[in-house]
């Protein structure tokens, strides 16, 4: 008897399913586009979207990451609170912008996560370790700026491809532009000093000679009011571009971009 009941139930279910698949077209409209057959009526519902192929990240681990300093902290020589202090970090730069740090390594010591960061101090290239908890969330950039002091050019790459190139002026022999690995720290615009053109980027590079300059001799990347000196070796250490070029660069280069000066 039980098998009979079960058989009736299954038969009824199959009949109902077949009946549903055989509904008149007006009733099916919500579930199945005309001219299309599907084993699953639900999948044939007209969707708000059309499926796309998911795209992987390009060069996922080749990006540079930066984070803002959340609160005053000390950068140390090694990832330990017992290690010597290399620099004191504020949460704002001298320009009033967020103080961001580019990190390139992590370490855990006694349960504390540390980040190795590039510092805006002399000697250029100094790195230090800061607790991860002193920093905010990461932002990633896939751009890289290369300043070639021999050829007097600036080249911007995005995901390894050249997207910008322009002639530059760099430091005069007595006030050289330092070489090394740096990064773009902030972006200034809307000011009224024509010497810097319409746009200026601050970096963490420091002039090795103009150490008594305000803010310690920050090496910037900016426009100019003397375009005839570009290309050349005439600046106080900054990297000068013609104004049209710096504006174009400004559309392409985000803050946090690593800067290689060769």
């Amino acid at each position: 008897m039980l098998w009979v009941v079960a058989g009736v139930i299954i038969s009824a279910a199959v009949a109902a399913l077949l009946s549903f698949r055989g509904l008149p077209s007006s009733t099916k409209e919500r579930g199945r586009p005309s001219g299309s057959e599907s084993a699953y009526t639900l999948t044939a519902l007209p969707s708000a979207f059309t499926a796309q192929r998911p795209l992987p990240l390009i060069d996922a681990t080749g990006a540079t990451r930066w984070a803002p300093v959340l609160h005053a902290a000390a950068a140390r020589r090694a990832p330990s609170f017992q290690s010597a202090v290399v620099a004191r970090l504020a949460n704002h730069t001298g320009d009033g912008t967020a103080n961001i740090l580019v990190a390139d390594a992590e370490a855990e010591h006694q349960g504390v996560l540390w980040e190795r960061v590039r510092l805006a101090v002399l000697p250029n290239g100094t790195q230090g370790w800061v607790p991860r908890s002193s920093l905010g969330g990461w932002t990633f950039v896939d751009t890289r700026l290369v300043i070639d002091r021999a050829r007097l050019t600036a080249t911007l790459l995005r995901a390894g491809r050249v997207v910008f190139r322009a002639p530059v002026a760099v430091g005069a022999p007595g006030t050289p532009t330092p070489s090394g690995q740096f990064y773009v720290r902030d972006r200034l615009s809307g000011f009224s000093n024509p010497m810097y053109g319409p746009l200026a980027f601050g970096t963490n590079a420091r002039s090795p000679t103009l150490t008594d300059w305000p803010q310690g001799g920050v090496v910037g990347i900016h426009g100019t009011d003397r375009p005839s000196l570009i290309p050349g070796r005439v600046s106080h250490g900054c990297i000068r571009l013609k104004n049209a070029a710096i504006v174009r660069l400004g559309r392409l280069m985000p803050v946090g971009t690593p800067v290689t000066i060769t």
Binding site: P46, S47, A48, L70, L188, F191, H236
Partner: protein, 236 residues
């Protein structure tokens, strides 16, 4: 505001432009709080792995304030997940099967974001900033967080699905919901949990979901301000 400048968030923090709040306030006969309570069984969350089909979703989004609010709610969750997986992939700390999971699921979540934004157009909320506090650089922490996110997303979509007003959104929502469930099963297996632990899953309403995300402190208010109008003090 909480410790170390890390701020917990609420719906209003996700809802930078007020789009969600505005949509909720327009719902007839319900206060915002009432709507959020009702969200356990009302509203809709949609989309994923898709792009807008012109002439259908756009028109629908413009015509239903309830759907827009719930779409933005879902977009918020997709922002969170997409940022999480993208950061994990970029940090490069994951290996083997876990790295593969992050790569595949991250691509899905980024597609979900694109689809929501395409449908919502100018009504889409902006992406908040995230701070995952090192979780993305630690495989064990990543795995645990991913399990929580995928289970949460599955329950959140389920919580909204019964109330979708638009048939096209319903179709998309069901497509996304099952993908989130597959993500959940995948990462649960990698974490050593049963992929399907029980015969029936419970939905989660919006306030509960927001409370849970809030407790992570992963959402920060705004991106740091790295621009200024001050005159440079550079060497020149």
């Amino acid at each position: 505001m909480s410790r170390d400048g890390i701020r917990s968030f609420s719906l209003s923090d996700f809802d930078v432009d007020g789009a969600v709040r505005e949509s909720l306030s327009r719902l007839p006969g319900h206060t915002r709080a009432g709507f959020l309570r009702r969200a356990a069984g009302a509203g809709a969350a949609v989309a994923g792995g898709f792009a807008l089909r012109p002439g259908t979703a756009g028109a629908r989004a413009g015509g239903s304030s309830g759907d827009i609010g719930i779409l933005n709610y879902a977009l918020s969750l997709e922002y969170l997940q997409a940022s999480f997986y993208t950061e994990a992939e970029r940090m490069g700390a994951l290996q083997g099967a876990l790295a593969h999971q992050a790569q595949v699921v991250g691509a899905h979540e980024r597609d979900h974001v694109k689809a929501f934004k395409a449908v919502l157009g100018s009504a889409a909320i902006k992406q908040p900033s995230f701070d995952f506090h090192g979780v993305t650089a630690n495989p064990d922490a990543f795995r645990s967080t991913a399990v929580a996110f995928e289970d949460l997303a599955t329950a959140a979509y389920k919580g909204q699905a019964p109330n979708i007003q638009s048939a096209t959104y319903l179709a998309a929502a069901l497509a996304v919901h099952s993908v989130e469930a597959r993500h959940a099963a995948w990462i649960r297996r990698l974490a050593g949990f049963l992929p399907a632990a029980q015969a029936f899953d419970d939905p989660l309403d919006a306030p509960r979901v927001i409370d849970i995300v809030n407790s992570t402190h992963f959402v920060t208010l705004q991106a740091p301000d790295t621009s200024a109008g001050t005159s440079p003090g550079f060497t020149g």
